[in-house]
């Protein structure tokens, strides 16, 4: 039986971000949050995202509305899930889907702006589990017809988020 799994990675970005990509995502998503949140802040009376949700469940739309600030940066990843490396230290997970998420934010306090980007791989083959690693293949073959594989170490914020058994 073959098991096809989607690997997902939840990347959290907060005000302490130092790398350029993360900083841009953080800054631009905060700017967009400040603009869009004005639809849910009761004319300035509410500053916190969680308070907006409490006051008006429609504020959950902000996850989506703010994501417009981030899609351009997702494109700059060239369809590879960032950060997550195989045991050789190379990024290898193809990027299929993503979902942007506001964890918390506050229109008056930038330091409280924390977001997550959930990255999803396409279904890839989970061949075996070796120690603390998953043996995976994205259905790539070399010229000799050998299936090319990667070992992925289990780690925080990385998970299998769906499975198909065939």
């Amino acid at each position: 039986m073959q098991r096809m799994v989607r690997i997902c990675y939840r990347k959290i970005i907060d005000s302490a971000a130092t790398k350029p990509w993360e900083k841009l995502v953080w800054q631009d998503s905060y700017t967009e949050f400040n603009m869009q949140a004005q639809r849910y802040n009761n004319a300035g009376a509410i500053a916190g995202f969680s308070d907006m949700l409490h006051s008006n469940p429609q504020a959950a739309q902000l996850h989506f509305l703010v994501s417009s600030a981030v899609t351009g940066y997702i494109q700059q990843l060239h369809q590879v899930i960032p950060d997550i490396q195989n045991t050789l230290g190379k990024q290898f997970l193809p990027l299929d889907n993503f979902r942007f998420e506001l964890i918390q934010s506050n229109t008056g306090q930038p330091s409280k702006h924390v977001v997550a980007i959930n990255f999803f791989s396409p279904p890839i083959l989970w061949i075996d589990t070796i120690g603390n690693t998953l043996l995976l293949s994205a259905n790539q073959y070399n010229e000799a017809g050998e299936m090319l594989t990667h070992l992925l170490q289990l780690q925080p914020f990385v998970s299998i988020c769906s499975i198909q058994q065939q």
Partner: protein, 248 residues
């Protein structure tokens, strides 16, 4: 050799436009880094003597450039099909003798021909079709005449609402000035009727349609201030012109 064929095969087998390691190493050279990409040279087995070495990172990448919000564009149709409509909105200032406001930020959004908005679904995953995920949403900045122009498709309608376009106007620094909606003129030969009864793809007709007078947003607009002006035809497309007065 093996590494090369690996990468080659990675490209073709995956059918991806790009694969990270190759792209990243190219970028590294482009960026003028003088240090060779030692991390990919293969000498990574440095675990002798009971110490361990952190796995080297292939690159520092990505090397991002600043991009505007995906909303910033004039053509907002993306993958949505329908009767073309040009949307021209002028923003004027009530506090300045109704003079045009330049530099105001104008967001618009509306539903597609079937009545659906772009938004997150309930599945927990969002398609990474970056070019279409925010369909029928756009942002422009007013010119010296206070005008913004968008290209889109004529909105359809859904249960309980008259045809409408949402508008959110901000000043140049992003402070909200007004959230409003544009209504459409009605009548036996109105654009709304023409589109919904004759245009290809708009299959709903007018049965069950909520007219402006019954719409819970527009019904109090007895003076018709929120109703835009429409010209055009189903075959040639329509043009919507509307002026919105704000206090800035």
């Amino acid at each position: 050799m093996e590494r090369k064929s690996f990468l080659k095969n990675g490209f073709s087998a995956l059918g991806l436009v790009t694969v990270a390691p190759l792209i990243s190493s190219c970028k590294k050279e482009d960026a003028g880094s003088s240090s060779a990409s030692g991390s990919s040279s293969g000498s990574t087995n440095g675990t002798a003597g009971g110490t361990c070495t952190e796995a080297p990172t292939e690159t520092e990448g990505p090397f991002p450039t600043k991009v505007p919000s995906a909303y910033v564009r004039s053509n907002i149709a993306d993958d949505r099909t329908g009767v073309p409509i040009a949307i021209n909105i002028s923003i004027v200032n009530k506090n300045n003798s109704c003079a045009a406001i330049s530099g105001a930020i104008v967001d618009i959004w509306h539903c597609d021909k079937d009545g659906y908005y772009s938004e997150y679904g309930g599945t927990g995953m969002q398609s990474a079709n970056f070019t279409a995920v925010h369909f029928l949403r756009g942002r422009q900045v007013t010119d010296s005449n206070g005008l913004v122009s968008f290209t889109s498709i004529f909105p359809g309608w859904y249960q309980g609402r008259a045809t409408h376009i949402h508008v959110h106007i901000y000043n140049a620094s992003g402070t909200s000035l007004k959230v409003t909606q544009i209504a459409f003129p009605e009548g036996s030969n109105s654009a709304v009727v023409q589109v919904n009864t004759t245009a290809s793809g708009y299959g709903k007709g007018m049965s069950g349609y909520t007219y402006n007078a019954s719409d819970n947003i527009f019904s109090d607009d007895t003076a018709g201030i929120e109703i835009g002006t429409i010209a055009g035809s189903v075959s040639a497309g329509f043009t919507l012109t509307h002026t919105i007065v704000v206090s800035a």
